[in-house]
């Protein structure tokens, strides 16, 4: 018995074909995905899929920006799911649309549809008869639901998928044609700025507005509880008025922040909600000889996009239009409706590209800021842009984690039982998911909404703090437990990989230690405990490419890491070559990845390279800093990231599997690279670093602990 075929998830949610694709009689295909470009190249891959299935030149495919006015609702662009969700939906929708047009052409030409062929949109048949999508565009209605009656092409018949087509959005960016939200201007646009406290969650006790009101060009000072901002005719005027407003503000003391130097103690001392993520019981009695226990931590990590968050909003009576670089236009709309207490139908949220987005940053927060300030703008649009400091201190962070792994080992040093416990805030507090809004200004209003405490997506959706905590290795028994904090002094939400970076770091470093103690090659140890051939293939491919294991030279070390992202997504293995004495320098990263069908192999490589370099930055440099009351890492000086001169060489092998459903590549590299670097540090210096980041200070601390 075979399973009943089902519509791809995004197409089941948005079955109307016309919501995805429209043809113009001038020869264009308007493709309207619900997912958005955040620097990952998704619009190019989706255009490839559509062009392939429709048999049109990719140059004819025009991407429509996501908007709640018209686009299919695909939730949020996150979790490496855009290829999986949007890609599959577009492939199926386009296959059906192709079939519908073939039938219409057959009618018009009086030829059996099976005898027709499509080439760049022209539909032709025997005897030199022809028509086209463009000719038929006005008479064929796509206002019908997907039926599954047509099947997409087989892998062998696709011309574009699997090819490294050039990014469609890239020329605009290289030639500086305005495309980013930051670069666009609306007629009669005003500029807004919002005043935010330095001390964490301080309340605005008093506000003297006189200084701000005296600034030339001022349109309004807006205050509602602890939310305060200015609207000005000019951007410069808004900045000046904000400075004046800051001088007139009196804040309450802040709320206490944890000790940044003992995050594990803080995380483990909080009230938690504990969940058993997975258990495996062994039927055999174990031959346990000893127990190995290790604790790993990672700090809070900032998104730190190069652009500060920006949004525009314009009211028209009781309706508001919002321009945003949010990852989820419908989800943002839902939260705006909650804050404003108006129906969602009164709000249109339209996407414009922002800088690279690595998760839930301040994009949604600034949209509410703009909406609130625009209320005082008499129907004129207001553009709000955050400062660098606010971006670094008020946007949500990736959650700090403490991870404890205990393994029972038998006399041969083999693992007979495995226990993995995680203490962390939740990794998701995105808007649009709860009965209460999750937008910053909403917590600051005079009649405030309660501050969201981050939660975790369920394991079925990849989990949150527990993401990648279930071992892919066939240990006889295990128990995986997640402790989610019920307090949240530092605001956390989704950052690339959620908990996977921390969990893979812990698992892969622990395994490296077990293998080393056994005197076994760590690659061999992994291969021996894996049953999934695709997993073994990426490890073998990376090892081969890196000539594992190169002869040991003084001052150099090699380490490996592996994971299958979310345990269901892309397979990725990484090998790091580092040089280290007082400081660690990552020289080379060699990776192999399997995403199933790689729609755009160079796009996959770009994502893996980028992920590997960003992970190197997290590992060697990044840590949100704070004192007892304020986030202190408010600039690039206080929150340094990897620079050109520090970036390792990165080699990526893509294992192409055209007949396997594609998955995303954006988050696959972080965990394996993190572990590979830490394991290479041990190989080089003989010291295990279990607390990230790996800095000169953490090296010294680990060496002192070891001696």
């Amino acid at each position: 018995m075979t399973a009943t075929p089902k519509l791809p998830i995004s197409l089941a949610a948005n079955p109307r074909l016309s919501s995805w694709v429209k043809f113009s009689s001038e020869g264009w295909v308007a493709l309207s995905p619900g997912k958005v470009e955040i620097g990952q190249g998704i619009v190019t891959a989706l255009a490839q899929i559509a062009a392939d299935e429709l048999d049109v030149d990719i140059g004819r495919v025009q991407l429509v920006r996501a908007s709640t006015a018209a686009s299919p609702n695909e939730g949020v662009t996150s979790g490496s799911l855009s290829i999986q969700q949007s890609g599959r939906a577009i492939r199926q929708a386009c296959a059906e649309i192709r079939q519908i047009f073939l039938a219409a052409a057959a009618d018009r030409l009086g030829i059996d549809a099976n005898a027709l062929d499509i080439s760049d949109g022209t539909i032709s048949g025997p005897g030199n008869v022809q028509t086209s999508y463009w000719e038929l565009a006005d008479e064929v209605s796509l206002d019908r639901d997907a039926t599954l009656e047509a099947a997409p092409k087989s892998a062998a018949k696709r011309a574009l998928a699997g090819q490294s087509v050039q990014r469609v959005d890239l020329p605009d960016k290289v030639f500086a044609r305005p495309r980013f939200i930051h670069d666009l201007t609306l007629p009669s646009m005003l500029h807004g700025r919002v005043l935010r406290p330095e001390r964490s969650r301080a309340r605005l006790a008093e506000l003297n507005e006189n200084g701000a009101r005296a600034v030339a060009g001022l349109v309004a000072v807006v205050r509602d509880g602890s939310f305060a901002g200015v609207v000005s005719e000019t951007e410069d005027g808004a900045e000046t008025a904000l400075s004046a407003l800051r001088k007139g503000a009196t804040w309450s003391v802040g709320e206490a922040l944890p000790d940044e130097n003992d995050l594990a103690a803080f995380l483990k001392a909080q009230p938690v909600e504990s969940t058993i993520i997975d258990t495996r019981a062994s039927s055999k009695t174990s031959d346990k000889q000893r127990t190995m226990r290790r604790q790993f931590t990672r700090p809070y990590i900032a998104h730190a996009s190069i652009a500060p968050s920006c949004a525009m909003a314009q009211w028209n009576g009781d309706r508001v239009h919002v321009w945003t670089h949010s990852q989820g236009v419908y989800l943002l709309r839902a939260d705006l409706a909650l804050v404003l207490n108006i129906p969602v139908e009164n709000i249109t949220v339209e996407h414009l590209e922002g800088a690279g987005c690595y998760g839930h940053n301040a994009a949604d927060d600034v949209a509410l800021d703009a909406v609130l300030l625009a209320k005082a703008a008499g129907g004129r649009p207001v553009r709000v842009q955050w400062s660098r400091a606010d971006e670094m201190t008020h946007a949500p962070f990736g959650a700090a984690m403490a991870i404890e792994i205990e393994a029972d080992l038998d006399p041969q040093g083999e693992i007979v039982d495995w226990r993995h416990s995680i203490w962390s805030n939740g990794h998701a507090a995105r808007p649009g998911r709860a009965a209460q809004p999750a937008l910053l200004a909403g917590f600051e209003l005079g009649n405030p909404f309660p501050r969201t405490i981050s939660s975790n997506p369920p394991q079925a959706n990849g989990g949150g703090g527990d993401r990648n905590s279930i071992p892919l290795y066939d240990f006889p028994s295990w128990n995986i437990e997640s402790h989610r904090l019920l307090t949240m002094p530092v605001r956390t939400s989704a950052l690339r990989t959620l908990g996977a970076q921390g969990n893979v770091f812990a698992i892969e470093c622990f395994l490296d230690e077990v293998a080393t103690e056994r005197g076994e090659d760590p690659i061999n140890f992994r291969l021996r405990h894996l049953r999934d051939e695709r997993a073994k293939d990426v490890i073998r491919a990376a090892a081969r490419r890196a000539n594992w294991k190169p002869e040991k030279k003084p001052g150099t070390g090699y380490g490996a890491g592996f994971a299958r992202y979310k345990n269901t997504g892309a397979y990725c293995a990484a090998i790091a070559e580092i040089e280290g004495e007082q400081d660690i320098r990552v020289k080379r990263l060699t990776l192999a990845v399997d995403v199933g069908e790689a729609i755009n192999p160079d796009g996959v490589i770009n994502q893996i390279e980028g992920g590997a370099i960003q992970a190197t930055s997290w590992v060697l440099k990044e840590r949100v800093r704070f004192d007892s009351q304020r986030i202190t890492s408010s600039s690039w000086t206080d929150y340094p990231i990897l620079r050109f001169s520090e970036v390792p060489q990165v080699q990526v092998d893509v294992i192409q599997r055209s007949d396997i459903e594609p998955v995303g590549a954006g988050e696959a590299a972080h965990g394996p690279v993190t572990a590979a670097i830490a394991n290479a540090v041990f190989d080089c210096l003989g010291v295990r670093i279990r607390n990230l980041p790996i800095t000169r200070d953490s090296l010294i601390a680990a060496m002192e602990l070891a001696s």
Binding site: I38, G39, Q40, G41, S164, Q166, R167, D169, L170, P171, K173, V174, F175, A176, R177, P178, F180, H182, D183, T234, E235, D236, A304, S305, I306, A307, P308, E353, G354, A355, G356, C357, Y358, Q385, S387, R388, D602, N606, Q607, E609, G610, G611, A612, I613, Q614, S617, S635, W636, T637, I641, L642, R643, F644, S645, V647, Q649, V650
Partner: protein, 156 residues
Amino acid sequence: MPSIRFRLNGVETEIDADPDRALLDILRGPLGMTGPHFGCGSGECGACHVIVDDRAVASCDTPLWSVENKEVTTIEGLGSAERPHPLQRAFIAEQALQCGYCVAGILMSAAALLMRNPSPTDADVRAALDRNLCRCGSHNRMVRAVLRAAAEMGAL
């Protein structure tokens, strides 16, 4: 307000503005050049780099008065789709970006490098771009693109 004159992308430009204001504000505001991007406002990220005479500078941290009678080049003056600079061609050939927000500043740092050093090494390029931050991790592609452009320009 005093009037300040400079050449912007080869065109004589005169602007009445507070001379202490940042060049970036003037470029993006009254002059409508949105290529240079605001990233930090304190000269730490390079997204706003422009070339003043022959040096790449952070325009967010450069007062307007300091460019009086100088030659300012922004990415808009580097090239266009119709007449691309070799660097722009190379960045497309190497698909050398992800989000692209930092790229306007990086192209200007690279262009300034090639003006003073037409055949840089990999290390020269990295040193020249070290004041530019990229968060997406496209660094190596960008370095390859700069080297490709240098080779192409050298072959002319």
